[in-house]
């Protein structure tokens, strides 16, 4: 009964909130008036936009020592999460049956284990650093902690339900997934969609000024 509710009405409600909320936030970003640059552009902004989207994927020279922890743990978490989300066998089946109508070859179990360990360890380390590092602690808000904890709980409940032996475990996982999808558009988790926009905007602006950002 509870499983039917979370996989039925609550799931559809969450999808609607997620899709509409994300589109609304993106539209909100693009409709912001940009400041007119009166200076003569020294070059096209496009190459700078593309370059910055790519080069911001690692730390700039001079910052690597202090950012090593963040870089390594960040990639551990994000790569692990991506593999779990897209290639975990239960997710592939769910996407095929409930969303797209087609699926793909899921990752073998050992890949799932490695990915989930990377994701859990990475997220835990990043969150603990947020709590312990004096600067990170000062600039962190409730949203940062809530997003980290909610993401962790979603991953945890998913992994605990891996045996697929009990509907109750699946229902708990689906419930946390729905909560995350509802929370997503109104939180900093939106960076999953906005990071290329932000990087491209900065890169293009700097390229027009003739600065290698």
């Amino acid at each position: 009964m509870f499983l039917e509710f979370v996989e039925g009405p609550l799931w559809y409600f969450s999808v609607v909130v997620f899709v509409v909320g994300v589109l609304w936030r993106l539209w909100d970003v693009f409709r912001q008036p940009s400041r007119t640059d009166l200076a003569l552009a020294r070059g096209s902004g496009v190459p700078g936009a593309v370059r910055t989207v790519v080069t911001r994927s690692w730390t700039a020279k001079g910052f690597s020592r202090g950012a090593t922890f963040h870089l390594v743990a960040g990639y551990m978490f994000h790569i692990g999460l991506f593999v779990l989300l897209i290639f975990a066998a239960p997710h592939v089946k769910f996407i095929e049956e409930r969303i797209l109508g087609f699926g793909w070859t899921p990752a073998p179990h050992w890949v799932f284990m490695v990915a989930s360990d990377l994701a859990f360890a990475g997220l835990l380390l990043l969150w603990l650093r947020r709590l312990m590092h004096p600067v990170m602690r000062k600039i962190s808000t409730f949203d940062d902690h809530a997003a980290a904890i909610l993401t962790f709980v979603v991953m945890l409940t998913g992994c605990l339900a891996l045996l697929k032996s009990h509907d109750s475990l699946r229902a708990i996982h689906m419930l946390t997934v729905c909560l995350l999808m509802i929370y997503f558009p109104f939180s900093r988790l939106m960076h999953a969609f906005t990071f290329p926009i932000s990087r491209a905007y900065t890169g293009a602006a700097m390229a027009r000024k003739g600065v290698n950002a």
């Binding site: 020592r65 202090g66 922890f69 284990m113 989930s116 360990d117 859990f120 360890a121 835990l124 380390l125 603990l128 650093r129 709590l131 312990m132 590092h133 004096p134 600067v135 000062k138 945890l156 992994c159 605990l160 339900a161 891996l162 045996l163 032996s165 009990h166 109750s168 475990l169």
Partner: protein
């Protein structure tokens, strides 16, 4: 009709034997002996078998001895390719099951409950260990950002693995009465998956702990004296110590040794695809379960004294600083070093902490080395 019934039909004279009575008696005895021989002789082999029945191999016994491998590994083969696939009944598995149910479960329960009872008694008798001199308001930096991150990383993993492990070990006795069979089944399934999934991260946490906390954890005579004074836990009997005291050093080495044992045995159990047989798995289980129970029991003491058992202890791992009076009462020799280095009474400074984090963090900054003294 009556003639043949007349007395004349019966012989009235005694019958005459041709053999004399003595010979006849002997013949009779011989005949009786022969008769006995004929009757008894066929039974002799049976009697012999009965008398020697322990030495006669039973074909069924031999078969089951082979099946149960009582005389060692069998030379059998099968179409099924896999580790120990010709083995039908594994003796090691039975022995492990007996160890688990007869030894590990009850002894572990006594150890854990005994530790909890000891801590409760200690709490009642000693109370919370206070800062005798109150708070001085002067702070001393103790643990770096990386040390605290790694400590809590390992601690969260440890608690999760301990709880899920205890559910697997004792859930049958504790949770079924509370949750019912169905509830316990779901909880145990979740605990098993969680334990197997988080387990492989733990060795990395132990390794990081070793790297970041190794410095200053070698035992010396100060620690011997510290142990003789019961670590200063008894009222009015303070014990000197440096950056780490004897108890903390013991806990560190326990974490290292138990951590290695539990990690290696756990990986053997978690990844059963490298050709390890049942015997190796059973031994790994014995080590894993036994060490885990002792590890958890010891951790209860560490958790107690680091949180509610001692005033001022928790903040060393939460914020990285301790009050100077706490350092004076529990780590006086270290405080003297820090005073000499001018690191007592520092203001919590984010920039300074970041500088330490980025530059000397991996060496720690609790024990002031040359750099700290210069700084």
């Amino acid at each position: 009709m009556s003639d043949h019934l007349s007395p004349s039909a019966f012989p009235t004279e005694p019958r005459r034997h041709r053999l004399p009575p003595g010979v006849r008696a002997r013949v009779t005895r011989v005949l009786l002996a022969l008769l006995a021989f004929v009757l008894i002789a066929p039974l002799v082999p049976y009697a012999a078998m009965y008398a020697e029945r322990g030495n006669v191999p039973n074909p069924g016994t031999a078969l089951w001895n082979e099946v149960r491998q009582r005389t060692g590994p069998i030379d059998a083969d099968t179409q099924v390719r896999g580790v120990e696939s010709p083995v039908l009944i594994n003796q090691v598995g039975e022995r492990w099951q007996q160890f688990r149910s007869d030894m590990l479960v009850p002894a572990g329960a006594w150890l854990l409950l005994g530790t909890l009872a000891f801590l409760a008694l200690f709490r009642i008798l000693r109370g919370r260990i206070p800062l005798e001199g109150g708070r001085s308001g002067e702070l001393v930096p103790r643990f770096s950002v990386n040390q605290r991150v790694v400590h809590w990383f390992a601690a969260i993993l440890f608690v999760f693995l301990a709880v899920t492990g205890l559910i697997l070990l004792y859930g049958r006795f504790v949770l079924i009465p509370l949750l019912g069979p169905e509830g316990f089944s779901a909880t145990a399934a979740a605990a098993k998956e969680g334990h197997n999934l988080f387990g492989p991260i733990f060795p990395f946490a132990v390794l990081a702990l070793m790297v970041l906390f190794l410095r200053g954890n070698a035992f010396n005579w100060v620690d011997v004296k510290w142990f003789f004074k019961a670590g200063g836990l008894l009222k009015g009997h303070p014990a000197s110590s440096g950056y780490y005291n004897g108890g903390q050093k013991s806990w560190f080495w326990m974490v290292v040794l138990f951590g290695i044992a539990i990690s290696v045995s756990g990986l053997i159990l978690d990844f059963g695809v490298f050709g390890q047989g049942r015997e190796v798995m059973a031994w790994a289980h014995v080590v894993h379960g036994g060490v885990a129970v002792v590890f958890i029991a010891a951790s209860l003491g560490h958790i107690y004294i680091g949180t509610i058992g001692m005033e001022g202890a928790f903040e060393s791992m939460s914020h990285g600083y301790v009050d100077a009076n706490w350092a004076r009462e529990h780590h006086d020799l270290w405080l003297a070093e820090m005073q000499a280095a001018g690191m007592v009474g520092v203001e919590p400074n984010a920039l300074e902490e970041v500088k330490r984090h980025d530059n000397i963090d991996f060496k720690g900054f609790g024990a002031p080395g040359r750099k700290a003294a210069e700084g």
